[in-house]
């Protein structure tokens, strides 16, 4: 993206209050690897701040700049200057996949094919010092399942206390994956409980609220697409990055506008009227363990039989059910232990909340 395109996007967003009605705003930069373009991000952020102030925009009182990075360039001088300059309004997330072996399976340098784990991990202490409550996000695909337990433990050992982790929504699952997944989570549950990590650490796979039936009153859409705006390098607008062509497998991009023409509000209407029951098949509506079962609107669209965002993809069904079984095990085991130690009340009063990660 060039700076002029970014400025046009900022101008449009700040001058269209009827479409952007939230009291707060998050300006998120994603890649590729965004820190490779820290100069550009810096210029864009300066422009955002100046324009919000110049226009007396309410968001000047409540904005956040967030960056998702692979962490390799985190300690670079330019990046550190940027952090210092925007410290009060900045959130940076570093992605670590798990152990060195697991991380380097997927994350290698382009030409040398050397794994990047060591270069990332050396920056973790500085990152944690600058963003003490930071969490990391891990996405699990079929090949990753055998490494879940060791990866989560490793991330905890690096000093990261919160891990947001989810399985991919795409239909990648092989027969038996759910069984291994359940075993991994059960083993992880044992480790967390046996080592008393539950006071200080959270892994979002374990959440008391999941695995319950949902009645029709719980009808909100899970996904935030349409309530966010995603902008590509050319200045096209999407309801979420997953609707950009490079993210789609079988469908053509769902562009809702661009920096010059603005948003075509008609193209947003399906997203803003989506609800759980309209897009869900009967088996999901009647599911006894429905709560916490997520979906991705982009994957729903990509996998749908017709051109619609109203057909829920159910590829993660068996994985969700496996998660629910392990989750039930975790809470039953944990609460029994706490009761026997007469610590349940104390735990419940102080427990760390797991906020569901809604993208």
């Amino acid at each position: 993206m060039d700076l002029d395109t970014a400025k046009l996007a900022v101008d449009y967003i700040l001058s269209t209050p009827d479409l952007f009605t939230e009291e707060e705003v998050g300006w998120a930069f994603i890649g590729g690897e965004p820190l490779l373009e820290i100069d550009l991000i810096d210029q864009i952020c300066d422009y955002i701040k100046i324009e919000m102030f110049r226009l007396n925009h309410r968001w000047f009182n409540s904005y956040l700049i967030s960056i998702s990075t692979n962490g390799i360039n985190y300690s670079d001088k330019k990046v550190q200057n940027f952090i210092e300059k925007n410290k009060k309004h900045l959130s940076i997330g570093i992605t670590i996949d798990g152990t060195e072996k697991k991380h380097d399976l997927n994350r290698v340098y382009k030409f040398t094919e050397k794994g990047s784990y060591k270069d990332v991990v050396k920056n973790i202490p500085l990152w944690q010092e600058q963003f003490p409550d930071s969490s990391t996000k891990v996405t699990v695909s079929s090949d990753d399942i055998p490494y879940i337990k060791e990866s989560v433990i490793h991330i905890f050992e690096l000093g990261i206390n919160s891990i947001y982790i989810n399985v991919v929504f795409e239909n990648v699952w092989k027969d038996g994956d759910d069984i291994i997944f359940e075993q991994q989570l059960t083993d992880l549950a044992d480790y967390i409980i046996d080592n008393n990590l539950y006071y200080t650490k959270t892994c979002s796979f374990f959440d008391e609220k999941i695995g319950k039936p949902l009645n029709n009153d719980h009808n909100n859409n899970w996904c935030g697409s349409g309530r966010m705006l995603s902008i590509d390098a050319a200045g096209n607008f999407y309801p979420c990055t997953r609707f950009a062509q490079y993210s789609l497998r079988d469908k053509e991009t769902w562009i809702i506008g661009n920096v010059k023409d603005g948003i075509d509000k008609n193209k947003l209407r399906p997203f803003l009227t989506l609800d759980r029951t309209t897009q869900s098949p009967e088996e999901c509506i009647k599911c006894e363990v429905a709560s916490g079962c997520a979906w991705c609107q982009g994957e729903n669209f990509d996998a749908a039989e017709t051109h619609t965002v109203f057909q829920r993809a159910t590829a993660i069904c068996k994985m969700h059910k496996a998660r629910v079984r392990a989750n039930n095990y975790y809470w039953n085991k944990l609460y029994r232990k706490l009761e026997l130690e007469d610590l349940r009340e104390q735990y419940e009063a102080n427990k760390r909340e797991v906020k569901p990660e809604i993208c």
Binding site: D46, K49, I50, M52, F53, R54, F60, N61, S62, Y63, K85, N86, K87, K88, H89
Partner: protein, 89 residues
């Protein structure tokens, strides 16, 4: 040392949180705005003064209203999540 000395209402908390956020925003903006940009620079300076006054005014009003415990060289702080007021001394 830190001691819980009181609590404000959520509305009162929102007021100071907004001023706090604005002050942070102004401070970060001050790092990039120079006197070359005359009009905005003057606006910034004026706003920093006004926001600072409102910020102090909030603490004066609230401390008078709730009569929080204080100490010499101590200062109060607020937890935005709980609306609790602490005395640091």
């Amino acid at each position: 040392m830190k001691k819980l000395v009181g609590q404000v209402t959520p509305e009162e908390k929102n007021e100071i949180q907004q001023l706090f956020e604005r002050r942070n925003g102004l401070n970060e903006l001050a790092k990039i705005l120079t006197a070359d940009n005359n009009e905005l620079y003057e606006k910034l300076v004026k706003d920093m003064g006004e926001t600072g006054s409102k910020f102090q005014g909030w603490w004066d009003r609230m401390s008078a209203k709730y009569k929080w415990e204080s100490t010499e060289n101590g200062n109060w702080e607020i937890n935005f999540d709980t609306c609790e007021i602490f005395l640091n001394f």
